[in-house]
């Protein structure tokens, strides 16, 4: 029983980190890229891709149990510079996703009739979560399990009503024809964008409560979480297709609200609002905690300034790191809300994540050579050739996501390459800082 509970907690962490408010917007956007049938297939294939990636990540986690993920894995495989660059890029992506969440949260409140500026909603929400983290309030794992369970159950209930209701309203009208040979590019774009729906599942890896967790629990928790999310997203997209005008929903960033109203009236509407708020707060909190832990560790490693390792003696909260992460998140939020470029930010995040997932797969393969003798309680069952192919396909899918941004493809490319360049410069500066601030060696 205890093992089942522990596994459930890991599944909740993995699914909860991936299940953000942005996911509903992404599913609505996908109705503008591919037909409903192709969208469903794209979600399933993206889920399968992520499950395959998760086997490599689980192997890395079992090799380095409890280590702060990306930094450790990539440093061991490719050295300090590549690791720092990709960690910087990943943190930027996390900030961008957080910013989009704040934007969506502001839209939900605005839709509910609260006449406040979106910018104020975003800033106030973020500030509140940062303050909670600063005073050392930490969400117990049981609460995280309950919140994720509520969210999943709520969406499934609304979807069930939508699909079994007596009078399914508007007949779904595909916005684009069904996928054929000529639509292959659109379909591949659909898969790459659908990968966004699972971003963050890997954040469960440092949370194991003991060595036993890395033998099978954490490796198993990620595929279960992804599978659960696939079911959830399929149910949600089916419900949208059955209850809403899919042409109209494409540009709706909060389709869950319209779906709730269409299926259960005011009750459904407020239920979805509550669940959205729950999802946003949970992922803000978890995201800030995880990112600040990484920043704190980098500071203690002396690649970031010492003030980032400033901590509260009373609560143990990493104050400096939380403030830095909060400031970055706030800047990204203000920029996203001010420009309203939600989709641009999203496709760049997809491209970054695909690049990082590809790097992690190659890190697994490289570490099998570099650290062949070290024990791995879990080993990916995939043959190396298959892993290599997936590792190559992921960055290609990421580039496909950039090309899908039709409003201004150059903006997507420019934004992506600006962030890559920024992360390379950041890594260089961190190395310089590290070399100037060598850790004091204590004599034996």
């Amino acid at each position: 029983m205890r093992a089942v509970y522990e596994l459930a907690v890991y599944v909740a962490i993995s699914a909860g980190m991936a299940l953000t408010t942005n996911c509903f917007s992404m599913i609505a956007s996908l109705f503008g890229v591919v037909s409903y049938a192709a969208l469903s297939l794209a979600i399933v294939l993206a889920g399968v891709f992520c499950i395959l990636v998760s086997t490599s990540i689980a192997e890395l986690a079992s090799l380095f149990p409890s280590a702060p993920g990306l930094r450790t894995y990539l440093k061991a495989a490719f050295g300090d510079y590549v690791s720092l660059a990709l960690v910087s890029l990943y943190l930027m992506m996390a900030a961008m996703i957080g910013a989009v969440q704040a934007y969506i949260l502001s839209l939900v409140l605005s839709d509910m009739g609260f006449t406040v500026l979106p910018l104020i909603v975003g800033v106030v929400t973020l500030t509140a979560v940062v303050v909670l983290n600063l005073v050392g309030m930490q969400m117990p794992r049981a609460v995280q399990l309950i919140m994720t369970g509520l969210l999943v159950a709520g969406i499934l209930v609304v979807a069930a009503f939508a699909l079994s209701g007596p009078a399914p309203s508007p007949v779904p009208v595909p916005t684009v024809p069904a996928v054929g040979a000529s639509d292959l590019q659109a379909f591949l774009t659909g898969i790459s964008l659908a990968i966004f729906l699972f971003i963050g599942f890997e954040w469960v890896t440092p949370t194991g409560t003991g060595p036993h967790a890395y033998r099978w629990m954490i490796p198993l928790s990620m595929p279960i979480a992804i599978g659960l999310l696939v079911i959830l997203y399929l149910a949600f997209s089916a419900a949208i297709s059955a209850s809403l005008d899919t042409a109209g929903v494409v540009n709706n960033l909060i389709p869950q609200m319209a779906l709730g109203r269409a299926t259960l009236g005011a009750v459904g509407y407020y239920l979805m609002a509550f669940l959205t708020l729950l999802a946003a707060l949970a992922s803000f909190n978890a995201g800030i905690m995880a990112a600040s832990r990484m920043v704190y560790a980098l500071s203690r490693e002396r690649v970031l300034p010492a003030w980032c390792a400033w901590i509260s003696m009373r609560s143990g909260a990493p104050l400096g790191a939380i403030l830095l992460v909060g400031a970055i998140l706030l800047t990204a939020t203000v920029a996203t809300i001010h420009t309203g470029k939600y989709m641009l930010v999203t496709v760049i995040a997809v491209a970054i994540e695909c690049l990082v997932y590809g790097a992690l797969i190659f890190a697994t393969l490289r570490l099998r050579v570099l650290r062949s003798a070290e024990p791995r309680p879990f080993k990916s069952p995939l043959p190396p050739l298959a892993q290599g192919l997936i590792g190559l396909m992921l960055p290609a899918l990421g580039l496909g996501a950039l090309m899908s941004y039709t409003e201004s493809p150059f903006s997507a490319w420019n934004g992506f390459f600006a962030l890559v360049a920024g992360s390379l410069v950041a890594a260089m500066l961190m190395r310089v800082h590290h070399n100037r601030h060598k850790p004091a060696t204590i004599a034996d």
Partner: protein, 131 residues
């Protein structure tokens, strides 16, 4: 275990001391340092220390801002923190020769604890050795 020893090299200089005296010295140092008490106030975990190469296991409790003497075996209390590494790495961590966060980042020290417990443990090392 033998494989582990062959691959993971000691990080600084080889510590000849075994784990138990290292832990006993650590406990004495913490209990004798007034400034650490502030960090330990209201924090009551059981800390398990496991040497992955020798299989040795010790645990000690934090209570009323004091550490208990390390005893052999695995603590089973509710609020558990587990540290696992090669014996030499653990000795270096508990004698201030190795930055624990760095050891964790390098994959040489596993710390099974929630984020704030991990930071608190590191804070104790910061206060004791300032590294």
């Amino acid at each position: 275990m033998a494989e582990n020893q062959a691959v993971k090299q000691p990080l600084v200089s080889e510590q000849k001391r075994t784990l138990q005296p290292c832990l006993a010295d650590f406990v004495a140092k913490v209990n004798g340092t007034a400034s650490v008490k502030r960090i330990l106030k209201g924090w009551n975990p059981t800390i398990n220390v496991q040497a992955s190469d020798t299989g040795e296991k010790f645990n000690f409790n934090v209570k009323d801002s004091m550490l208990s003497q390390p005893v052999v075996g695995e603590g089973q209390a509710g609020h558990l923190i587990t540290l696992q590494a090669l014996e030499s790495v653990l000795c270096q961590v508990f004698t201030g020769a190795l930055n624990p966060v760095r050891a964790n980042l390098d994959g040489n020290l596993a710390v099974f604890a929630n984020d704030q417990d991990g930071v608190k443990l590191d804070a104790v090392c910061l206060v004791l050795w300032g590294m």
